[in-house]
Every structure is written in C-alpha cells, then in structure tokens.
C-alpha cells in the first residue's frame, strides 16, 4: 500500500508539473493575444457595433494598473477579491485567482502577477455587492457625540472635532449635562508593569489556595504587601478582580488579525485591561470551545494549551459528508470555496451528502438525503450513529486502539485518542479521571524537566490501558517505535487495585446505549432506517467521509456535548488530518512569532503591561477559586449570581449583562468595535435596557460605519474605514487545507477624511482613535519608539507593513521560506494601481522606509497577490493533508470533568452524552406550556449577512424582506396562508416587540410563507432583516433631520422573541459549558395580525 502510494505520488507530481505549465502557458498566451489585439485596434467581436457606435475603447478595468487584490469582508469567509478601479472609484469586484477561496485549484503563487489581469475567480452575490457597503449613503464621516441633554438612543447627534472628542473621553467631566462622567485616565490607575507582574503572581497564589481561611489570609497579606498601590485596585478586598484598568472594556464583533494586534496592544499591553472580548459565542462558541477542550495537551502533568479552534471537513476530497446544522451554500466558511466542491463533486465525482437540518436549506435541496431533525437533538443523532457503528464494528479499530503517538505513527495516523485509556469510576459508577500507573503500583512516577524551566522537574505519572487484559503503563506522547502501545477498546467496570475502571470507548458506548436506536430515532424525530443508512454510508468510505457541523449543533443549551458527540463520531473512523476527512486551518504568522521573522511584535512592545484579574465575563477562571466565593457563607455559594466560564472565552452575551449587573465589578467605559450585540444576539433587546442607562455604563464609545442598532446607544461614534479602505490579516477557516494569509489592504481613498495624530496625517478610523488615545494617555508602546528597536508606531502603516513583511519573510529562520522579489514590472504595477490613494494612505517612500529596502520587493510581491497562499499541490501529502493537527484528540476530557459548575457545584461531564434541551443556566428544563407550540429557529440567506448588508440595494432588490417559514400542516392548523402577517411571541416577550427605550416599539411581525421545506412544529426566519437603525430610520445630526431609507428596515427580526434565561433575566438561554448563545431552543406562538 505504502509503495503503491509513493508511486502514484510521483506520478501525480509529474502530472502536476504538466498541468501547471499549461495553465501558465495559457495565461501568458492570453496576455499576448489581448495585448496584440489592443495594439492593432482589432476588436474581434463587434465590428458592426464599432461601425455604428463610437469607436471601441480599451477597457481599463481589465488592466492591472487599475486593480488591487485584497480580501472581502461582506461576511467572514474572507474570499480573495480583486477591486477594479475607474478614476479612483471601485467599479467592480471579482475573485482573486491566487486565493484558494475563489478558484480550485487556485493559481500557483509563483504565477507571474502581470499575467493575471484578466483572470478572475468566483465570488458570491454579497461579495459582488460589496461596493454598496463601501459607498453607502448612510456611512458616517464625522465624529458624532450624543447631543447633550438627550438620552441614549434618541438618535440626536452633534458633530465634534476629533481631538476634542478624544480629550473628553480621556479626561471625562460633565459631558452630557448629566453629571460627571469618568474619563479613561481615571481608570488608567496601575501603570507600572513590574508592580502588575508582582500583583499578578500574588493573585495567582490567592486563587490556587484551596483552604478558605488561608485564602483570605493571603488577601490580607496582599493588602499589606501592596499597601502603596491599593488605590489602583477595583476593590482591595477582592484583589483577584485586578486593577481599575479592568473597568474599561473593549468588545468587538468581527475582528481580524492586524486590527486585533492593534487593539490588544492598546488595551492589554498599553492600558493594562484584561477586558478584551470577542463575539465568538453568538456565532458558534460551543463549537470552538469543544474544540479547545478536545485539543488540550498534557504539559508538565497538567491539561493545558488547548486551541480555541474547530475542525471542518475537507469536503473537496470527501466521498460522503454529513452536514449537521451547517449550510455550506449559504454560510459555513463558505460558499465560493465549498460550493464547487459539493456541486462538481456530486455531478462528476460521485460525492454523496446528507443534510441534517429542520429546514430545507438550499444545500438540503441538493442532498442525497434531507433529514429534518427536531432542533436540539443533534447530539442524540450522533450518539445513535455511534451506537450503530460500535455495534456493527464499523469503526477503525487500529486507530482507536492506539493510546500514544508511537502507536498512531506505526499505523500511519497523525492523530490518536483516549479510546483505550482507563478511567476511574466513582462510587456511583460515574467516570472521573484517568487511572495513573502509580495508583495501582504498575509503574512509579518519574521526575521530568518542566517545560517552562528545564532546571526544575515535575512528577510524570503514566497512564494505563489494558493490552489483552493486562494493565500496561504508557506515555501518551511517547514516539519511539518500541513505545507503541495499542490497548483493549472495551473494558467494562473491572477492578484494578482500589479502583473500578472502564475504557473510554466503553464509557462512550454506554452513553450511546442510554437509548435504543428506536428511542434515539424517536427523540430526533427521524426514521431508524435513515439513521442506519447514514451510519452505513459514513463507514463505507474509509477516511474519506466526515460529519461537518456548525451553528445548528452548537447554538443550543446542550451545544458543547452535541459538538463533542459529532466529533467523537468522526474519531470512530479516524478521519482527522486525512484528505476528505476532518481538518484544521493553517496560516502564515503575521505577528512575527516564528524564529527569524523580522518584526516580532510581542517583543517590540516597550513597557508592556501585565493585565491580570478576573474578566467581566469570568472566563478562564474558576468560581470556586475566587475570593468572592471564599467570602460567601457556604450555604449561599450556589448558584452564583451569574455563570462562570472556565472552559470558554469571548462570551458575547455576558459582556453587557455583566456590566448591567456589575458582576463581579462595575465597569466605567465600554468600547464596541464592529459589533452589534443588540441586533445580533438572541434576546438582544435586553441589552438596550442596560446600554440606555448611563448609571450602569457611564461611557459608551462605538466604532461603526453607520449608526447601527447598538452604536445608536453610544455616547460617541467614531466613523471607521470600510473593508476597501483598511488593513487586516484575515487568517483562515478549517474548511481550507492550505496554509494562507489573505491580506486586506487599502484599495480606495478613505471616505472618512483625515486626522493628525503623533504629527502624522492618517485616515480617520479605529486605529487613529487608539493612536490618539495612546498619545493622550502616554502609552509607551505607541508613538515615537512605540515599536522599540524597530522604530515608531505613529501611524497604522507602521504596524501593518511590518506584519506584511513577516508574512513575506515566512517561517524559516534562515529566510528560505521567503517569497520571491517582485520584478520591475510588478513594482511598477503596484505603484501605478495605487496612484489614486492619498499620501496618508499610500506613500511608496514611507512604506519602503518602514519595511526596509531588502524586504520591500517581497512585501510588494505579497501585496500584489492579496496575501500569501500555499500552492494547491503543497496542501496534501499522499492521502493526508499537509498542514496537520497531528496530536491527541480528547474524546474524554479529564479537565472538563475536573471543572465544577458555578451554578450547581457539580462536576461537568467530560465525554459525549445527550442532554435534552432547552434548560436554563441552572440546568432546569425550560417549559413554557402548551400555548407556545412552535420551535423558533433561524437561517441565513446567501444574499444577506447577519447585521451589515441591509444597505446593499442590489441584494435587497433580490430579497426585499424575510418571511416566517411555516410548514403547510402548521399553517393549515392555524388558518394561515402565505402572505398573512403574524406576530411572534414567547414567554419572555409576551408583547412580541423590541422596546428601543426611546419611545419606539418595533413589533416582530412577519409575513408567513407556507412551505413543505420545514419540519412541522418548527418555524424559521432569515437573519439580516428587520433593522431598526443602520440608515433605515430618521436621525438628527447638528439639528438636521436625516431621513432613513425604509428599504433597509424591511422584514422583521425575531431575536427579541428568543427566550431570556429565567434565572439570569437579562441574557438569552446559554450553553453554560461551551458558552454559546442559544438561537434554536425557544418555543413561541404566532398571532395573526
């Protein structure tokens, strides 16, 4: 087998060369042909028209002198695009053929740039309509301040000079006639990194102290030791809350690399706040954080270092795919990349796929099978399939038996699992932690050097598996062939020493057998025959099958365990890192983290602060370790006031409600960047109550390109540059096997105007604001010398061009991974294509100075191509992907088990199990009664992104409004027909309205569309419609009434009909483990209006 593979690999390499040549040859030929034609004035196609109409003109859009390759941001798929310019106006957008997102295979990276002017990849309708996001009449171009004397949300604004606005934000004062507002300088309390470092260490000691009395004594010691700095703390009695700096929170929606480096440098390294939070949990949080738990590594005897990541299928090479709660034709990272793999795969390559979704999505319409599952039972379906696969022995025994790396390598597998590891059971038979060899006297612990300090050691304890019934000790990471251990897969409650143990696969099998197949089918609302057919098919293609999952799996109260169940199913066939199986993303490091890279940003960070303390969303922290917990009487500790999130982060729905509850501490100022939690989050209406109250949040600053549903409640809105006017490093998604780094760069002059900071002229945008604040606060990692030995950080380009240089240099210390130099023609085209940009944006001499002469031609090479993209052929090694995850996959999680809920005090479950949804944050079933008889879910349309494309008139012309999708049986039962208007109501919003707290109440009324394409008992609506700001409603600036465009508000937005958690009261239902905000577990009723 191996020999055969090697032969065919060589063979294919030769063929690649041939095909590569012919493609290049073609582009060259096309270029020559067009050039000749143009020279001779020969128009091959319309001689008659040339005669009858004016003389044919050279079409400037086809020339690279008028094209800039960059990256889309109409959604987050980050497809490569080329922007075609006409007199400085972006006139048309098409796909960048170097980008693996838009062409398959994409052009080899070395394809001469000069030959690509007429070569285009495919992009989706939103990508095509991007011009309308950029040239949006309702874009704000001036700094706006809430008009003093008006309340938040009244939508009355005054324009304010950039510098004055920054002065007010830094210094505070009576800014709105409502009394004093604390400025940032009041919260910028702790400024000495050395003190911060010492405090952080002392706080760590407090947290890890298990004895309550000793813990509180350590707090007193802390207060003595840092007596001169107590005024820098939020509360000296709770030193674990950290410094006052933490009372400034930076929260973002869509944030990409570069800007994230900028924000973190400002907020964390500069200002010293620990409160920088993303929006992950509104998208697919429990997918990410199940991925994190599954990727935790054993380092120095502790489980740590899990990646916030997830896997997707390499569907281009799959023979069979199960899409669960995933909609690759409409979202799913994303259509231009994945659609051709599925459509061409199905017509030409025999690809089969099944779609598990309560709604007949477009991908379901093309599928081999559509399985309209009952929402919230996705994990049950996975366990049903697991049961069948185990009972019929259709799993990869060799893969699962490998307990360590050596055994995996011996079998040709890049990954391995804990399937054959032994787990101890407690007295109730509940699985707990892994059995260690020393516990049964099998093998002594051994001292090993600490990874952080090789001079010191820790005690490594071996794990245990059974081999033919005999216990064997092993090291999971042992990689020498002689250390390979393959264990028995099913060990069911045997006694070893003092312990009753089971193997992990037995534990999973038990979970899969909690119900019979018939019962599972009943729970899911599916047919047994379908489940069996899918399971058989899934196990009939070796490693070229996968279950690709997304929001529909993760955004439930049981999201974490649903995800774990599906990823466990994938593990049964061992498809991780295989072509056609489950893969991870891979990117070129732009931050300079690899040895030899020219600009290591983390080191070029003078006087960087050490942020410490519990975050406002209490992530990465254990409630039971907090001083807050220790100070509570024992009988009042549970439930906590709000949940803690030791296993997740970026818990979007926690940020504003926690500010509202001042839990664990009050917040003074909130920055919101490219986020609209009011619109995007389930039960987002509850945020309005908090945001509109300056007592709960004294200062609210937003960056936006229009006045949006959330920024309308801000005190200041700074206009930002759009995606065609700014820099970003776009990373990748796990749907892409290739190593990439798409770079967004300015393609048009900024429409926001210019400002001056640190003596430099620059576009008015988010970076300019942070630079201006840093200048006023005196942050040392900005301005002159802000990049340490690398120089100044006085302009956004100072950071971003160096990041481009890092990408261009590559990741080999000796520079052998660097891209080629741009040749003279490329350099000419580069400058020529940017001739319309002002000097504050593009100045070749300034740019060259920033990166240095040597790297400049490489930087140009990368920017001309819109980033860096690994060649197609390099993405695969034989039947595996080249960029591998390549390590232990935790299908049993000791760390998860060892975590206790802040709400119940119970251990979490560390493996795939089915927990019925919905439950509240305390784990109690949410039962609103028979009156609420329809399950509300959401979906995406290809022509609309969640919150930011309602002003794209080309798209709204195709789909002016959304509808309430309802099965014909449900419609008939309610006497409804297509076009009838209904109001959507749930137990926590009986009026069915958005109360904007400005006198306006927006009812959630939509038109019914009767369809056969949705499960009875379920209704769905498309996200992105029913706006109540974003240029759709009237507002005032400087007393001038500006009329909104009603096209932008059409349809309805039923997020406010999603269930508020009964215990929390101001937050949607949540997955308390994985952090997801819950979209799909609310029972509603519809009322005809």
């Amino acid at each position: 087998m191996a020999v055969q593979e090697r032969v065919s690999q060589t063979h294919s390499y030769e063929r690649n060369k041939v095909s590569m040549f012919s493609r290049r040859d073609f582009i060259k030929m096309a270029g020559i042909m067009y050039g000749t034609a143009a020279f001779l004035g020969w128009r091959p196609d319309f001689p008659q028209l040339v005669a009858s109409q004016a003389a044919a003109t050279e079409i400037p859009l086809h020339s690279l002198e008028n094209q800039i390759y960059t990256v889309c941001l109409q959604c987050n798929t980050v497809c490569g695009i080329k922007v075609k310019l006409l007199d400085g106006v972006a006139a048309k957008i098409d796909g960048n053929p170097y980008s693996p997102w838009t062409m398959a295979p994409h052009l080899d990276y070395e394809t001469p740039f000069a030959q690509t002017g007429t070569v285009e990849g495919a992009i989706c309708p939103k990508g095509q309509a991007g011009l309308q996001t950029v040239y949006d009449p309702y874009r704000i171009v001036k700094v706006l301040k809430r008009k003093p004397g008006t309340k938040r949300g009244e939508n009355q604004w005054i324009t304010i000079d950039f510098d004055t606005a920054l002065d007010e934000i830094v210094n505070g004062g009576d800014l709105f006639g409502e009394g004093p507002v604390p400025g940032l300088k009041e919260s910028y309390a702790l400024k000495d990194p050395a003190v911060a470092k010492e405090m952080a260490a002392a706080v760590k000691a407090i947290l890890t102290e298990k004895d309550t009395a000793k813990k509180l004594a350590l707090v007193e010691d802390f207060k003595v030791k840092f007596k001169d700095y107590l005024d820098t703390l939020i509360d000296p009695d709770h030193p674990d809350w950290g410094p006052k700096n933490n009372q400034v929170v930076f929260n973002w929606g869509r944030l990409k690399g570069g800007r994230s480096d900028f924000i973190n440098r400002f907020m964390r390294d500069g200002f010293g706040s620990t409160n920088t939070h993303g929006h992950t949990t509104v998208c697919q949080g429990s997918l990410y954080f199940a991925g994190k738990a599954m990727s935790e590594k054993l380092v120095d005897g502790k489980w740590t270092g899990g990646d916030k990541f997830y896997w997707q299928g390499d569907v281009r090479n799959s023979e069979f795919v199960i899409f669960v709660g995933a909609s690759p034709f409409e979202g799913n990272y994303g259509p231009p990349l994945r659609v051709p793999a599925l459509t061409v795969g199905a017509t030409d390559k025999g690809l089969k796929y099944v779609v598990v979704d309560p709604r007949l999505s477009k991908v379901a319409a093309k599928a081999w099978k559509w399985l309209p599952i009952r929402p919230g039972t996705e994990g049950a379906m996975a366990l049903a399939l697991i049961q069948w696969v185990l009972d019929n022995e259709r799993y990869d025994k060799v893969y699962l038996a490998a307990v360590n790396k050596a055994a995996a390598v011996a079998a040709g597998n890049p990954t391995w699992t804990e399937a054959a590891w032994l787990v101890k059971l407690d007295e109730n038979g509940t699985p707990t932690t892994f059995l260690r060899a020393s516990e049964i006297g099998l093998k002594e612990k051994e001292p090993r050097p600490l990874s952080t300090d090789p001079e010191k050691t820790y005690e490594f304890d071996y794990f245990v598996t059974l081999v033919n019934g005999e216990p064997v000790a092993f090291d999971p990471y042992a990689d020498k062939p002689e250390d390979a251990v393959s264990g028995d897969l099913f060990v069911n409650g045997i006694q070893l020493g003092a312990f009753t143990v089971k193997s992990v696969l037995q534990i999973i099998s038990d979970a899969a057998h909690e119900h019979t197949l018939e019962e599972w089918a009943e729970i899911c609302g599916l047919r047994v025959t379908d489940l069996v057919e899918v399971a058989r098919e899934f196990t009939s293609h070796g490693k070229r099958a996968c279950a690709d999952i997304h929001r529909g799996v993760s955004q439930h109260t049981n999201g974490f365990y649903n995800v774990l169940a599906w990823y466990t199913l994938n593990a049964l066939i061992g498809n991780y890192d295989f072509a056609g199986g489950m893969i991870k993303l891979s990117t070129y490091d732009a931050a300079g983290g690899k040895p030899g890279q020219p600009f290591p940003l983390s080191k070029l960070n003078p006087s960087a602060m050490i942020p410490f303390g519990t975050s406002i969303i209490r992530h990465d922290a254990k409630y039971q370790e907090s001083v807050l917990y220790a100070r509570l009487p024992e009988d009042q500790r549970y439930p906590a006031k709000r949940n803690w999130y030791p296993l997740s982060s970026d818990v979007y729905q926690e940020v504003i409600p926690s500010i509202g509850d001042a839990y664990p501490y009050p917040v003074k100022a909130l920055f919101m960047y490219m986020g609209s939690p009011v619109y995007a989050l389930p039960a987002g209406h509850k945020l309005i109550e908090i945001l509109s109250d300056p007592k709960k949040l004294p200062l609210f600053i937003a960056f936006d390109i229009t006045i949006g549903e959330t920024s309308m409640y801000a005190d200041y809105i700074f206009p930002d540059t759009s995606y065609l006017e700014r820099w970003e490093f776009n990373g990748s998604h796990p749907s892409v096997p290739f190593k990439v780094q798409g770079i967004r760069q300015p393609a048009i002059a900024p429409l926001t105007g210019e400002v001056t900071v640190f003596g430099q002229t620059m576009p008015l945008n988010m970076e300019a604001v942070l630079l201006g604040l840093a200048e006023r606060l005196g942050l040392k990692n900005f301005g002159p010398g802000g990049l340490g030995e690398a120089g100044d950080l006085s302009h956004q380009d100072d950071l971003y061009l160096r990041m481009v240089a890092n990408v261009a240099f590559g990741e080999k210390e000796d520079g052998s991974d660097a891209v080629p130099d741009a040749d003279a023609e490329e350099l000419r085209l580069f400058e020529q294509a940017r001739r319309h940009l002002p000097k504050s944006v593009f100045d070749p001499e300034r740019w060259k100075r920033i990166v240095g002469e040597a790297l400049w031609p490489k930087v140009v090479y990368v920017l001309n191509r819109g980033g860096r993209f690994q060649n197609f052929a390099k993405g695969y090694k034989g039947n595996q992907v080249a960029n591998q995850y390549g390590r232990l996959i935790n299908i049993y999680q000791e760390k998860t088990y060892s975590t206790k809920s802040a709400m119940t005090g119970e251990h979490l479950v560390g493996y795939a199990r089915y927990f019925p949804a919905p439950v509240d944050v305390l784990g109690r079933p949410v039962e609103d009664g028979a009156e609420y008889d329809l399950r509300l879910i959401t979906h995406r349309e290809q022509v609309m992104t969640k919150s930011r494309t309602s002003g794209n008139y080309w798209l709204t012309a195709i789909m002016p409004e959304n509808v309430v999708l309802m099965n014909s049986a449900d419609a008939a039962a309610r006497g409804l027909k297509t076009g009838d208007q209904v109001k959507i109501i749930c137990a926590s919003n009986p009026d069915g309205v958005w109360d904007l707290h400005n006198g306006v109440r927006v009812p959630m009324i939509g038109k019914v569309k009767v369809t056969e394409g949705i499960r009875p008992g379920v209704i769905s609506f498309a996200l992105g419609f029913g706006h109540f700001a974003y240029g759709g409603v009237d507002f005032q600036i400087d007393g001038v009434l500006i009329q909104g465009d009603p096209r932008r508000t059409r349809g309805f937005h039923a997020n406010a009909a999603m269930r508020v958690d009964p215990y929390l009261g101001n937050t949607p239902l949540v997955d308390p483990v994985g952090g997801s905000a819950v979209f799909y577990d609310t029972m509603v009723k519809v009322v005809k209006v």
Binding site: Q9, R15, N16, R23, F26, M29, A30, M33, Y34, P44, D45, F46, Q48, L49, V50, S52, Q53, A56, I59, L61, A91, K92, D94, M103, A104, P105, T118, E120, G121, I123, C124, P125, Q128, Y135, P137, Y138, R139, N317, P336, V339, P340, T343, L360, K362, A365, K366, P372, R544, A579, Y876, Q942, Y953, I958, N967, A969, E1012, R1015, V1040, I1042, D1045
Partner: protein, 250 residues
C-alpha cells in the same frame, strides 16, 4: 487515494476554450451557454455580478434566477433556474424593432444598438423568455439622504453606479441626463466586451457552483461542446422554434 492538482478549474479551462475561439473569425464561432441545473444553488451571484458589471439600474435585470419548491414534506426539494437571454438563432424580438436597433451580430449574439434604439419596447413584449427590460434612468441610491457633509450622502455614494460600464466595448457613463443606455431597452449580450478581452461573461466567471458554462460550440474540444452532447440537455420553450443558444443540463 492521493490528492493531486491535476484537475483544472473549469473557469480556466473555459478561458482556454475562449482563447482558441477568439483566434477564429467571428462567423466560425458559435457562442453557447450551458447551465447545469444540478449545480445551480440559487445563490444569485450571477444576477448581482451582471448588475455590477453592466451597471444595471433598478428594474433592469439581465439574468434573474427563478426558484420553485416541489414535493411535499419531507419529500420536498427546491429548484433554481437562471434565465439569461437565450440568444435565439431565430429570435422573435428582433423583427419587431421598427428601427433595426436590435439584431443578431455576426457571431449570433442578439445585441441592442443603443444609438438606434428609440425605446418603444416592442421587443420586450415579443420576447417569450421575458429577457428584456427597460432602463428608466433610475439608480439604486435614489431616495437616499443627502445631508451634505454630515454623512457620506447620496451624491458622493452613487459614483459606483454612475461610472462607465463597457457594454459593447465602449464606455457608457450613467450621467444624470437622458443619455444611453437610459431610455433604451437592455438585455444580456453574453458580455461581449469581456469576451473581446478573452474573459468569460460575468455570470460565468462568478458562478460559485460552476453551473454556468460558456464557449464555442463549433470547437470540438470545448467544454460546452462536450456538455450539449449529453443526454440530459434541454432548452426552454423549444416548441416555439426560437432555437435558443442557452442549454440546460437537468
């Protein structure tokens, strides 16, 4: 199984086909479009790409995508049908033009000579495929706020709608007056201006499902020639004898 890059994206294959076709005299080419409905996902990328490429105003659409639902739950499905101009070999629309402004050009594409078109719209009613629409001179930003200096405003925002399109190989700026193509009947022309530059029609290039194929049916080696010889090929309303040059694979 070994993954290789020996496959070529059909976008490149078709551009290669195009190059060969352009080497021939126009009358020896037979431009056809093939739309594989099994691959069409109803995303409307083609619709919007065409609007963007040709700067089409509200109400003017060269390439809508029609959608239908079939069956009953749970045995239901959805079908999507892109409908460009069929570029009929026997077009019902051209003979009704009183000023001969619309005709088949020498490689068979039904074109509109904007300079000759008087906007009578007879052709619109004559087309059995509803492939023609009239340009009333609107733009999508009509009715949006101006508020000079306070927001971007309508007149700064509409540049992208007013810059030239290059239909038929010449620039048509969309000025605020009545100049062509305002007041003309407009229709799909297979992006002749792009073909001349060796580029595929905008709808074809941006088809993320790779459902739309384009090329010279007189070239035995072209992708479209291969496709229209399939057994599952149909054309719309063949009974009318219009002889469409747009084929569908079902």
């Amino acid at each position: 199984m070994v993954v290789t890059s020996q496959e070529q994206d059909i976008l490149l294959r078709m551009q290669d086909d195009l190059r060969r076709a352009l080497e021939k005299p126009p009358h020896q080419r037979r431009w056809v479009m093939v739309i594989d409905l099994r691959r069409c996902i109803g995303c409307h990328a083609c619709t919007v790409a065409c609007v963007a490429e040709n700067k089409l105003p509200p109400g003017v659409v060269y390439r809508p995508v029609l959608e239908e639902e079939f069956g009953s739950y749970p045995n239901a499905t959805r079908r999507f049908l892109p409908r460009p101009c069929m570029q009929c070999d026997n077009p019902p629309c051209t003979p009704v033009c009183p000023v001969h402004a619309t005709y088949r050009d020498e490689n068979g594409v039904v074109v509109v000579d904007y300079a000759q078109c008087i906007g009578c719209r007879y052709c619109i009613t004559a087309c059995p495929y509803a492939a023609r629409t009239f340009d009333f001179g609107r733009v999508y930003t009509d009715g949006t706020a101006e508020a000079e200096g306070l927001i971007l405003g309508r007149s700064r925002a509409d540049d992208y709608e007013r810059v030239a399109n290059f239909e038929y190989g010449r620039p048509y700026e969309r000025l605020r007056g009545e100049e062509s193509p305002i007041g003309n009947v407009r229709k799909c022309h297979f992006c002749l201006h792009r073909l001349a530059a060796g580029m595929l029609p905008a709808c074809t290039t941006t088809c993320i499902g790779r459902a739309t194929m384009f090329g010279d049916a007189n070239d035995p080696d072209s992708l479209v020639t291969e496709m229209i010889a399939r057994t599952n090929v149909i054309r719309l309303k063949e009974e009318l004898g219009t002889e469409p040059r747009v084929y569908y694979l079902v």
